[in-house]
């Protein structure tokens, strides 16, 4: 009795056939002539060919592409030699079988694996072959994707690695203990080792101790704060900008620290250079104004805390303009450099020498000692800067005027101290240069006074506050009156009558002198015209002309027009110019004087003997009159001082056929001496003070004045001249 639970052979066969039919791989069984014996459902789907349509057909009829292919070889191997075969899609250019999925036939079986098994028949010649087709499309696609990803990742990694190596900066990757996990070539170079040597070692062990401490501190900070850190570090000759970044491991832990060190040595040098350029004078290399102001503020801050003094020294070269004008700017620049060097060598290392521009220098004394210490240093500077510049005849003596201000005495900020030192320096200049001067409150007062005066002075001409006084000149031979000098006075509304010495220097400095000078000239012309009008014998009047006025563009024009307007004969006007004014620009002065002379106006040279005029020029200048400076006359009578000079000037003047006038005559003894010396004319308190017109007229009337004597002039030509001859002489 058979076991009812056991399947019969027929039942098993049915299940087996069904199993084959429903299998998830393709099953084909062919006979020895390759005719299809089995064609399962999978094959129906994959090929779109139904079982009924496939059975009993030769395989090559269903799949024409297998002819002369590796699959055909493998089939014949299996059928004829009993060899199993395996065909992997990968190796074949074309799929061994063209199969499509049954559903719509879209997806190709791109990667089928075909396995062939020879089957032995019950009769030996009735064998066959099993062909199994396994579709690996899905896994292959997945694999392809993975591989593509792997390739992309690898490419990215290689790019990063290339970048890593290409970076000129030092790049290191450290683990959480500071051991080197990765580094680039630049890092190897900096750490002077090879990769195998360095990898795995503690980064900090490779650095000099002080640097290692710094790096360690920032390293710990990166781990603790989980934020990047940045610092500058100096290693050897180089300066590095070091950045440390935490590198999270993807789960939030910091397991790696990236260290980047850029060599910023050159940048630092460049910055230094830029700073230097911005803060230093290009010519001398000294700190410039901007930098100096910084230093002063800093010095004041420090000195304020430490209760010390700071000195500020203003220097200005005397006669620097002369060097620039006569020897050229190159020579001027060279002089400035020399001065810069000398100053730097004289001061202490803690002091700062700066150039303000032009020929102005400032020294910051930090700290400054007592006034006497400063004074000693100033003396040294003045001595060091007392130079002979140039060669041969062109040599110029260069000296320095210095003003000093002190913190905290003269101010508590840079601006005030600078101003004070500047004021003191001007004081030193007006004291006669080549000296130093401490700032004092009086200077400020003086400066303020001066400013006040300047304002008033500007108003004086429009307000008609000037008047002209006249001081007559006396001829020593005839004892007669021979002209007068016009002298301006300022009738100050509050201070009364002011002498020229109280306002002329300021007028010179401010340029108001031109306006005043023109007013005086006009006033004098008007006066002469009035005298002529009323029938009074006019005096010939000498008018003082300042250098500024003389060199102003239209001076000759102005004189001409003035004379024309009042119809004043030329012989009544004389122009007085100081010797120094002429010498300040000899060429220009000569030209102007020639023009005046050509018009018929006589020229007097004032303050003769005080300057350094060259006598050879004197002979060529169109000059009619020499006025001996009052300083030679003073004391002449008592001590016969300067007698030789007087004699020399008079004989010089006479030999050049010039009239010589002595000023400042106060005693009869002066007159005797001067007469002895054969001086032509004299003026002074002995004869008359400068007088207002009304007083002058009274004085002239008292003397019975009938006109200038002109005797001296006649004497020059050897005989008496008529008016016609006189005119010729004047020209």
């Amino acid at each position: 009795m058979s076991d009812p639970s056991k399947y019969t052979t027929g039942e098993v066969d049915a299940l087996l056939h069904q199993g084959i039919d429903k299998a998830d791989i393709g099953y084909i069984v062919i006979d020895k002539d390759t005719r299809v014996l089995v064609w399962n459902k999978w094959m129906e789907h994959a090929s779109g060919r139904l079982q009924g349509d496939a059975l009993n057909r030769p395989l090559a009829e269903i799949f024409p592409e297998i002819r002369d292919s590796r699959l055909e070889d493998a089939i014949s191997n299996a059928l004829e030699r009993g060899m199993a075969g395996l065909l992997s899609a990968k190796l074949h250019r074309a799929p061994p079988l063209t199969l499509r999925r049954g559903d719509g036939g879209i997806a190709r079986l791109t990667n089928p694996v075909i396995i062939l098994r020879p089957l032995s028949g019950i009769e030996t010649d009735r064998h066959g072959c099993l062909i199994q087709i396994i579709d690996e499309t899905n896994s292959a696609t997945r694999e392809k994707t993975l591989r593509a990803q792997a390739i992309t990742l690898r490419a990215q990694e290689e790019q990063l690695r290339t970048l890593f190596e290409a970076i000129n900066d030092t790049v290191l990757l450290l683990d959480e203990n500071g051991h080197i996990v990765a580094l680039n070539d630049t890092a190897c170079l900096r750490l002077s080792g090879t990769k195998p040597d360095i990898l795995g070692r503690s980064f900090f062990d490779l650095l000099p101790t002080p640097n290692a401490l710094t790096y360690r501190r920032y390293f710990n900070a990166v781990i603790d704060s989980r934020t990047p850190q940045r610092f500058e570090d100096t290693l050897g000759d180089g300066t590095y900008l070091v950045s440390m970044y935490p590198v999270p491991n993807g789960q939030g832990r910091i397991q790696r620290i990236a260290v980047l060190a850029s060599d910023i040595t050159e940048r630092k040098l460049f910055e230094k250079r830029i700073f230097h350029l911005a803060h230093h004078d290009a010519l001398t290399g000294l700190p410039n104004r901007a930098y100096l102001l910084d230093r002063i503020e800093h010095a004041i801050n420090v000195a304020g805390r430490t209760r010390r003094r700071v000195g500020l020294v203003f220097l200005d070269l005397d006669h620097f303009k002369a060097v620039n004008d006569t020897m050229g700017h190159d020579s001027g620049d060279a002089l400035l450099k020399t001065v810069a060097n000398k100053l730097t060598s004289v001061v202490r290392a803690s002091d700062t020498v700066a150039r303000m521009g032009g020929d102005e220098f400032v020294i910051l004394l930090e700290p400054a000692g007592q006034d006497q210490d400063i004074a000693r240093m100033m003396e040294r500077i003045i001595a060091a800067l007392d130079l002979r510049w140039g060669t041969g005849a062109d040599t110029v003596r260069v000296t320095t005027s210095i003003g000093v201000s002190v913190f905290p005495d003269n101010g508590n900020d840079a601006r005030l101290l600078m101003k004070a030192a500047d004021t003191a320096m001007y004081a030193a200049k007006s004291e006669g240069r080549n000296r130093f001067q401490f700032f004092s409150e009086e200077m400020t007062i003086r400066t303020l006074k001066r400013l006040h005066l300047e304002r008033e002075l500007r108003e004086a001409v429009p307000n008609d506050e000037f008047i002209v006084h006249y001081q007559p000149k006396i001829c020593f031979e005839s004892n007669l009156i021979c002209g007068a000098e016009a002298l301006v006075r300022w009738r100050h509304p509050e201070r009364g009558l002011l002498a020229p010495s109280e306002f002329i220097p300021l007028a010179e400095d401010t340029g108001i002198i031109v306006e005043i000078g023109e007013w005086v000239l006009e006033r004098v012309c008007k006066q002469i015209a009035e005298w002529l009008k009323v029938g009074r014998a006019p005096l010939s009047i000498a008018v003082n002309v300042s250098p500024r006025q003389l060199f102003s563009n239209n001076f000759v024009d102005f004189v001409t027009k003035c004379l024309e307007r009042y119809q004043v004969p030329l012989k009544f006007l004389q122009i007085e110019i100081t010797e120094n004014a002429i010498m300040s620009d000899l060429a220009k002065a000569t030209l102007i004087l020639l023009k005046l002379r050509h018009l018929g106006i006589s020229i007097a040279i004032d303050d003769f003997g005080t300057g350094y005029s060259s006598l050879s020029y004197l002979s060529r200048l169109p000059i009619d009159v020499i006025k001996i400076d009052r300083s030679f006359v003073a004391g002449l009578a008592d001590r016969n001082e300067n007698l030789e000079i007087i004699n020399a000037i008079v004989s010089l003047g006479r030999s050049l056929k010039m009239i010589v006038v002595a000023e400042g005559i106060e005693t009869i003894k002066d007159v005797n001496v001067l007469t002895e010396a054969c001086c032509h004319l004299g003026q002074g308190y002995l004869f008359a003070k400068p007088m207002a017109v009304a007083d002058l007229e009274k004085w002239l009337d008292a003397k019975g004045y009938l006109g200038d004597c002109w005797g001296c002039k006649k004497r020059i030509d050897g005989d008496l001249l008529d008016d016609q001859g006189l005119k010729k002489l004047c020209r």
């Binding site: 075969g85 190796l91 250019r93 032995s120």
Partner: protein
């Protein structure tokens, strides 16, 4: 047991005929990127096999094994040093695939190459010797020579028929070995059949 020089040449010649077929087959598949030659054949003992096959620094081997049975019985191996096997696949596939990423798919390719080469050789034997062999599907095995040859390798007096096989690809020449290991009594059968073939054709 020794092969006479004549026997050696005969077998070499036979295998070369088969290899020629294999090369043609491979060539069709991979655009003639590979040439195959069998320059030498040896009958050697176990120890020598090991020495021959592991002479390279890399002692890990890759082998494709096919079991055959019928007129004579045993295993045929195509053996490469591991790196060379992958190198071969790369050459055949002409891909820049890095060796480490070779996968099952490539292993299948290697199996097919083994199948072609081994079937070509065995097929030649059956043709020439007019016998029938049942040849099983190729199997891939890796490891030391001991792993590959299996338990039978322990037998001291087992004789291996070893042929060096050169795959000349565009890039390099890859050396592999064909190893035929007959089940104990079949070595003699095989050699006898070879001898009779030689006698017949002389």
């Amino acid at each position: 047991m020794n092969l006479s020089e004549f026997e050696r040449d005969a077998i070499c010649e036979l295998v070369n005929i088969g290899i020629g077929r294999a090369a043609r087959s491979l060539g069709k598949m991979v655009d003639d990127r590979v040439l195959l030659t069998i320059p030498a054949i040896e009958l050697v003992e176990h120890v020598d096999v090991e020495a021959m096959l592991t002479s390279q620094t890399d002692s890990t081997l890759t082998a494709i094994r096919e079991r055959f049975s019928g007129a004579f019985q045993g295993d045929a191996f195509l053996v490469f040093p591991e790196k060379h096997s992958l190198e071969l696949v790369r050459s055949l596939l002409d891909e820049e695939t890095p060796i480490e990423t070779l996968t099952d798919l490539e292993q299948e390719s290697l199996l097919e190459v083994g199948n072609i080469v081994l079937n070509a050789c065995l097929g030649t034997f059956t043709n020439i010797l007019s016998c029938r062999l049942d040849i099983d599907l190729p199997v891939l095995c890796c490891g030391s020579i001991g792993n590959i040859l299996g338990a039978r390798a322990t037998s001291e007096n087992t004789i291996y028929m070893v042929m060096r096989i050169d795959f000349t690809t565009q890039r390099k020449m890859i050396k592999g070995y064909l190893v035929f290991l007959f089940d104990s009594e079949f070595t003699t059968t095989f050699l006898a059949q070879i001898d009779s073939y030689i006698t017949k054709n002389q």
